[in-house]
């Protein structure tokens, strides 16, 4: 194709997106659109399955059967979310194995929030309430994204997420209505998870170079700062109901802005964790690699069985 032809295809493409049309796998798309989407969707998929790890730690330690089945069901959902997203990414021409390889080699990123440890039962509450809460805000915004398979995956995921946040909140509510020690445990969890949750929306708009292109492609329907503000505005009243204090002395309702003002995020910490120096980066990747390696014989056995069945069938014909 000549440069001129590509230019005109690009114009038609951008116009379609501007008209809120969806792009489907077989449609022509600029190479940069394809690559950006492979990166973002696979990162999102990795986040879903790495996100299973901190919670898995608590399945056997859940304080009641009710809590245990809820936690199991949530973690099971996250595995499903990973599957929906990996499949959506595969429609863009990358294989599942390549994506796993990128995750396991450390070449691919996943949400940094999962590099923090879940050290008490209250953390299961805080993760559901804050981490899934922040994820929901991100994902609701993505339901309207321009790539059809990604948008459809988001719609399905958002439907399933709602219970994740509610089960987390219910855990904290119970702790906050319990003994002083239980309430202190809930407060401690909020203290540790609050700031990393705010970081889930990514760098400030001014330091987020891809924002403009992403907004154009509807990969971002709102900017990082807008989504972060939305999260804070809706979470503060929820903390008040629990009787917990948000660990930010600068947090204050701004009547003129009709939003909460809040303190400075520790961006140094954010970048440290992104670069691999968070408290659990190594542990998480090791767990993923081990799971993959230990699963080899299962994958091989299933394939061998399928081949055998096929051979039997051929012989019978």
């Amino acid at each position: 194709m000549s440069e001129k032809e590509i230019k005109s295809l690009e114009e038609i493409f951008e116009k379609r997106i501007a008209n809120d049309e969806k792009i489907e796998p077989k449609d022509w798309m600029p190479e940069k659109y394809r690559q950006t989407h492979i990166r973002q969707i696979s990162q999102h998929a990795h986040s879903e399955i790495v996100g299973m790890l901190p919670e898995a730690n608590w399945i056997t330690r859940a304080p009641s059967l009710r809590r245990k089945v809820a936690l199991l069901a949530k973690i099971q959902d996250e595995g499903g979310h990973g599957l929906y997203l990996y499949s959506a990414a595969e429609t863009l021409g990358i294989s599942r194995d390549e994506m796993y390889e990128q995750l396991h080699s450390g070449a691919a990123k996943y949400s940094s929030i999962f590099n923090y440890p879940a050290i008490t039962w209250a953390d299961m509450g805080a993760v559901g309430w804050l981490v899934d809460g922040a994820a929901i805000i991100n994902q609701v915004a993505l339901m309207g994204t321009s790539y059809g398979p990604y948008s459809r995956a988001m719609i399905r995921i958002c439907k399933e997420e709602s219970f994740h946040q509610r089960q987390g909140y219910e855990i904290l509510l119970t702790l906050c209505n319990g003994t002083p020690e239980q309430k202190a445990m809930a407060q401690d969890a909020l203290n540790r998870w609050w700031w990393p949750s705010l970081m889930m929306f990514g760098p400030k708009d001014a330091e987020s170079p891809n924002t403009e292109q992403s907004v154009k492609w509807k990969l971002k329907r709102k900017t990082n700062d807008e989504l972060r503000q939305q999260f804070i505005d809706q979470t503060v009243p929820q903390a008040n109901i629990l009787g917990l204090t948000i660990p930010d002395p600068a947090l204050k309702w701004n009547e003129a802005r009709k939003h909460y003002d809040f303190g400075e995020i520790d961006w140094n910490e954010f970048w440290q964790v992104v670069k691999g120096h968070g408290p659990c980066n190594k542990q998480r990747l090791d767990a993923r690699r081990t799971a993959w390696e230990k699963g080899t014989w299962v994958r091989d056995a299933a394939m061998a069985y399928a081949e055998k069945q096929e051979m039997k069938l051929e012989k019978a014909v």
Partner: protein, 93 residues
């Protein structure tokens, strides 16, 4: 002479929506199946994309086994948001 095989037809009515099963037809090969599907199922602009799959490649669940297949999901109310008891004044959740 061999009979023409059966094909299942899936139509995407507009970009953004998934392909949906709309019926089946007989055709000698995939190309003819696509063309016939276009002529039969999209005469009134019902679609922007067609998938055809030879019916024999579809593995369907057995309705007689619906009990063991689907009932296990019935008693898992905790997979639904309404299972969790939260105060009425709680918003955005």
């Amino acid at each position: 002479m061999k009979n023409w095989p059966l094909w299942e037809v899936f139509i995407r009515s507009k970009n953004g929506l998934e392909h949906r099963h709309c019926g089946s037809l007989h055709a000698s090969d995939a190309t003819m199946a696509l063309e016939n599907a276009r002529d039969v199922y999209t005469r009134r602009m019902e679609g922007v994309s067609i998938w055809v799959v030879e019916s024999k490649y579809i593995t369907a669940s057995n309705p007689e086994l619906n009990g063991e297949m689907f009932e296990p999901a019935k008693d898992k109310a905790y997979r639904h948001p309404t299972f969790y008891e939260l105060p009425d004044e709680l918003k955005h959740m």
